[in-house]
Structures are given as structure tokens and as C-alpha cells.
Symmetry: none
Subunit: 401 residues, 2 copies
């Protein structure tokens, strides 16, 4: 695959606009009675017409057979090899609640848990305490004082929280404290690399202080920490390609992932229609817009084929608003497949639709997994879509003379 350095060298200024419309988990599997996937069952006259004027293909987000998480799935769409650029769980969790991380932050994912008088774990999730309780306890933990370290402790949901250790010399490479079993004490944090020694001390101090702070609480009287990670060093998409990039997403995690690569988040509301309205409002300020639709994935994970179909149809109805803005390149795809039949992210390749006035039409009649197999884009890695979008937007100059 071409390197980001090479792409940066090829990028050139242009007035063209690109819209990347991501239907999270859009790829599906056939239902029994007529063999149609979600995308094939959906009535999508606008997507089909766009497919007929554009090109189709299939993308592997990571590698054949590999199921992507949301982080790697989106990094791929943004043009980064997910096997090379990795996002730790702590960072992803922090990003998912809209926390802004600095270079000095070491993020960890926390669980409140229950321990007995001997300190042995009796419930790794503290009975899934209500989110409000979690928020109150996070407030208590944020009061802990560790010299030279600022603490940010924020609730996620139920027993889950995020802690940011902000300070000098707090490196990643720490073991987790969750023994993954009850009847055992929380493990001490170990530095798995020498330069993480100071971070290990700080994390252990935090855990010890948390035990004291939470001593009188019930059932959440201790914490488990894992996924210690720093904000990844990723060259910004805006710098590589010289684009002004914006993200429109209802869920904070996707805004966070997009910010990680230099995109600016804009207010989007809660519905698909809200997102298209935000696109209309903000299109003038950007030349790369990433629009994220979440519910295709949510319904896929629920195993709700029909509801996933309805979300696809809802997007299709809004599509003319996007077309009316006359972007130069439109890509419609997913970050991975979430077939309702599988009720989870899956390893199946993802349908891709690319339209620009420079397409060599490939005879597709509609947007479906079936048609994508024969599409003119062929089979690509998701990370190749970014150079393709840039190329079709005439934003890359010739390689070599």
C-alpha cells in the first residue's frame, strides 16, 4: 500500500469536495426466505441510481477473515492501516465519552467492582450499579491527590468509567489489574516495559487510594483498571491531504475517532435527518465531510434485520439532500459488516459505492453485496479508499515524471 508520506507528497490543493457517508456495520448476510441481505432487501432507489452512475466494490477493513472493532474499522476508512496504527482501549473509551486527551494523558478503562473484607473480588461489575452512582463515585475518585499528576475520572455507563492520569513521564505498557475471576484480589499494575515504571507506580497509588476512598461504599468498593494507553501518534488526515475535514456523527465515539485524525466535529442532532441538515449547514466550511450513521450497526447487533433495513431506507430517502450539494466525490460504505443474522461485527467484506464524474461505469444496477462483487473498484482494503477518494477528487498529482 502506498505510504502516508507518499500521499502527502502527492496531495495538491483543489476546490473539490468529498463526502464519506458511513453506514456503520452496513454489510449483511442473506435472510432465509428470499436470500436477500439487509442492503438487498431495502428499497433504495436513490442509492441504486447513484450506483448505476458510479462504481462498486468490496472492502476488507483489516484483512480477510478478521473482524474489526469500531476503532480499527474507522481508522481504515480514514486511510490508515489498522494493523499499524492502534488505539488502546482506554483511549477509545475516553474518546467515546467526548474527553479531549492531551499528550500528557495516560487513559485507562475502569470498572467498579465489589471486594470482601479480605480484599477478594466478589463481583467484577459491582452489580452493574446505576450510571448515576457511577458518576457520584467518579467524583469521589477525582478527589484523590497524587503528586505531579492531575486526575480526570468520568463515568461511562453502569459500572464503567474512564480515568486519565495527566502528568509527565506517564508511558503506556502496563498490565491490567483485573484478574478476570472472582475470589481473587485485584492484581497490582506491572510495568511491561522499563520506561513505564513511573506510570505503574502512579496507577498502583491510584488503586490503593481508591480502595480507601470507596471503603464505606456498597457494592462498589473497589476499582479494576485496564487498557492503559496514550493518545496514538497518528499523522493528521488534514495534514496528509491538505483538506479541511469535518465529522457529523450522533455518537461521541465516532466524533472522537475523527478528531483523532484532525477532523472538526460539528453539531449534528440525534436523527439521520438531523445529520443531513448538519451537512447542508456546514458543507461550505469543509472539503472532506465524514457523516456517520450509527443505527445500521445497532440493529445488526440486535439481530433486527427489518429495523436495519428501515435505517438504510431512511438514509436513502435523505440522500437527495446530499446530492443537491453537488459534492465531487461521494463514497457510501461501512466500517465493517454487522449482519443481523450474526448479531455482531463480522469479518465479511464491506460494500462500497464510489461516485464521481470520473467514474468508469461498471454496469451495476443497484447498491448491494451481490453487485459489489462485480464492481469496478474490485476488492480493496478499506485504507485504500482514502487515496481513491482523493484521486477521484483530483486532489493527487502525478507520481513521478
Amino acid at each position: 500500500m502506498i505510504s502516508l508520506d507518499d500521499l502527502q507528497a502527492l496531495a495538491r490543493p483543489a476546490q473539490t469536495k468529498i463526502v464519506l457517508l458511513v453506514l456503520d456495520g452496513v454489510g449483511g448476510l442473506p435472510r432465509a426466505f428470499d436470500g436477500k441481505t439487509e442492503l438487498e432487501a431495502a428499497q433504495t432507489p436513490n442509492l441504486d441510481a447513484l450506483a448505476a452512475r458510479g462504481m462498486l466494490g468490496l472492502a476488507d477493513p483489516i484483512a480477510p477473515g478478521i473482524t474489526p472493532g469500531s476503532g480499527p474499522g474507522h481508522l481504515g476508512l480514514f486511510g490508515y492501516d489498522p494493523l499499524r496504527f492502534r488505539i488502546g482501549r482506554g483511549v477509545l473509551e475516553a474518546v467515546g465519552i467526548d474527553l479531549h486527551l492531551t499528550d500528557k494523558d495516560l487513559a485507562a478503562r475502569g470498572n467498579f467492582c465489589s471486594v470482601d473484607v479480605q480484599g477478594l473480588i466478589t463481583d467484577r461489575r459491582a452489580g452493574r450499579i446505576p450510571t448515576e452512582t457511577c458518576a457520584r463515585l467518579c467524583g469521589l475518585l477525582e478527589q484523590i491527590r497524587i503528586p505531579g499528576v492531575e486526575l480526570v475520572v468520568r463515568p461511562v455507563r453502569e459500572h464503567r468509567f474512564v480515568v486519565l492520569f495527566r502528568g509527565e513521564n506517564l508511558e503506556e505498557g502496563l498490565s491490567e489489574t483485573d484478574p478476570q475471576d472472582i475470589g481473587k484480589p485485584p492484581l497490582p499494575v506491572r510495568a511491561e516495559v522499563p520506561h513505564a515504571a513511573h506510570a505503574a507506580e502512579v496507577a498502583n497509588l491510584f488503586a490503593e487510594e481508591a480502595r480507601k476512598t470507596l471503603g464505606a461504599e456498597h457494592p462498589a468498593n473497589m476499582v479494576l483498571l485496564r487498557g492503559f494507553s496514550k493518545y496514538p501518534k497518528i499523522p493528521k488526515l488534514t495534514e496528509i491531504y491538505g483538506v479541511r475535514a469535518g465529522v457529523i456523527a450522533v455518537y461521541p465515539m465516532y466524533r472522537g475517532l475523527a478528531r483523532l485524525v484532525g477532523m472538526e466535529a460539528v453539531k449534528a442532532g440525534d436523527t439521520v435527518a438531523d445529520e443531513f441538515a448538519a451537512l447542508e449547514t456546514h458543507v461550505g466550511r469543509f472539503d472532506f465531510l465524514f457523516v456517520h450513521i450509527k443505527k445500521t450497526d445497532s440493529y445488526g447487533e440486535d439481530g433486527n434485520f427489518d429495523a436495519k433495513v428501515r435505517v438504510i431506507e431512511e438514509v436513502d430517502r435523505e440522500l437527495p439532500r446530499l446530492l443537491a450539494l453537488q459534492p465531487d466525490v461521494i463514497v457510501v460504505t461501512g466500517d465493517h459488516s454487522t449482519p443481523a443474522a450474526h448479531r455482531a461485527h463480522s469479518w465479511h467484506p464491506v460494500p462500497v459505492l464510489l461516485w464521481s464524474k470520473w467514474c468508469r461505469p461498471d454496469g451495476a444496477q443497484g447498491f448491494s453485496e451481490r453487485e459489489c462483487r462485480f464492481g469496478g473498484l474490485g476488492r480493496v482494503r478499506s485504507a485504500e479508499l482514502m487515496p481513491l477518494m482523493m484521486g477521484y477528487a483530483e486532489r493527487l498529482t502525478k507520481f513521478g515524471a
Copy 2:
């Protein structure tokens, strides 16, 4: 390509079973009178029905245009990049006669040859002596005494034999002794890397003693040595994926290649039917079974189109026995193509059929090179089939969160 370390981190325990059915050299080329390949000419109702329920594709064993040997061809199928993991000729020859190599063994491929009174080679193959003579002479060579080194000398066929030098500090990186021409003396072994100096001494001592031992023999009165190699350090497939893996193969080389990556060889008999019987007997003990059919390749090398077709048809008749075992994933493919028209291994991509209940059907009506071009698997490297099989067997967890 995803690394073996990453795959190991993703592998998770499961009850699913995978059968990899390899028809050696199955890929073919069209015959003149009707343009059908061997696979297309064969009557294969069972493979065709499986193809209709599964997915097809084409695999490049090494890289486009490159013709694989049997070793790299199989390493690819087992999920190893053959360009990275290499098996020396000495080791392959040893594995091919069912020798079990240890870490202390340096293997070499030997030829008996004829030399004149001046020690110049008159026949590099000693008139292709009968295998029984080869065996008797190997017995003599095994009597040679080299301090600190144990010798294992075993016949292969005609003038070909294997020698294992077993001892400390016997490293690979040696030149061969065959000058590739008559009228020249055998070359001394040179150490091509400094740490192979001791091994070079030992090999030269062996060659000198062989000259004395064989002095009275005719026509095989000297040896030529090449392909000095150690057992390759390959992470075991069983450890990477956490599978119990078994191999069913009539020919020892394929059992040896499979053992190299951690598979257990089971008794298989001599015929295709014997192999399917062994599959029925042993399926319970394993969750990954590699079944190797040799004769598709042998007849391909003979240029015998019709006999190759008959072997494919024989496998097709036995296929219901495999289906009756209800494995979760079935892959039918080859380690390379051996078109009868070409009478040798070739660089052509290899047809692949993958079936599991998680397939997105691709509309294929039968198993053929032609249909494989449009298959849902697309065009892959053979080494990507292993992660695909693991993915479709739900034996890989999500990459990233």
C-alpha cells in the same frame, strides 16, 4: 498481511471443526477440443452443490507469476507467507522420507555419483543405481565416525539419499559440492557465513570418508551434497490458533510438512477412499483436519488430463462422507496448479471453494476455474485462507474495540 502474532492474540477457543481438503496441483488449463480445464471436465455434482452453497475464489500461493514447490505451496495453505518462512531442500527431502528432525540436525540432500581415478566426476547420478543399492550404500556411509557428530544416512530413491549431521553447533549456510558438470571434481564445502565453519569441516570430513568408504564400489563411488539446512523455526499452527490439528496424507512429504507446523499424522492407507475412511475415524480428535490428495498433481505432471479428471471425480464421489461429518468450515483447494497441458507445477492461481453457514452466497453454480474468477472470496494469497477459515469458524475474536 496480518501477522501470526496478531492472529495468535485474536484466536479463541471454540468447538468448531475445519476440514482443509487439498487436491494437489488441482488448478488446470483448458484442453483443445472443448476448452475445459480438468476441474471443468470432471463430473463433480457434490463439489458443484457445495460451491452453490458456499463461496469461490482464486488463490495465489506465493505471488502472481511465481510457480510454487510443494513445500512453499503447503506452507501458504497453512497460513505462512512462503516468502518469509523457507524450508531448505535437505530438510524437505528428510521430511519426505518421514525422518523426524531435531534442533541439532543439519540435513543435506545427497546424490551418489561416479568419479574416475583422478576424482573427476563421470556421472552425477551414478547411472541411477537401483534404490536397493542406494540403501546398502547408505548403510555403509552411516558407519562413518565423526567425533561429536551422529550420522543418519537414508535412501530416498535411485541415487538420491538424505544425510542428517546431528550434533552441537552445526549451522546452515554451506555451499554445495556438486559442480553441476562432469569432468570436474566435487567441490569442497565452504562456510558462507562465519558461524557455519564447524558444519563445513564436518561436511568435508564426511565427504572425504565417503570417498574412502565407497572406493571399491561401482558405479557409485562418491557423493555430492547440497541443500544443507536446519529444521526451520516456524511457530506451530496449533499454538497460533489453539487448534488440535491432524493430517491425513498418503505421501510422507505432506505428513512431514504438516508435522512441521504442529499437526499430528494419522494412518491413512493408500487410496482416496482410505483417506476419507481415516477422516471418519479421526475427526473426533481434531478441530482442524488437513486431507491431502496426491494424484491430481502426479497425473498433471504426467500430462495425463483424463487421469487427473478421474481423480477429481473420485474425490467428488467420496465428498458426501466428509459432509456427513458436518464440519463447520470446509475448504477445497490446491497447493498450486499442475495443468496437464503444462506437465509441471505452474504459476496459475488456484481455485478455492469455502463453505460455512456464514457464507454470503456468490451465485456460483459449480466448482471451476471459470466460476472461481467471480467468486465472493475474490483473489487472495493462499496464506490468507487460514485466517479466513478461522474467521468463518468463529475462532477469531474482534481486532480492537
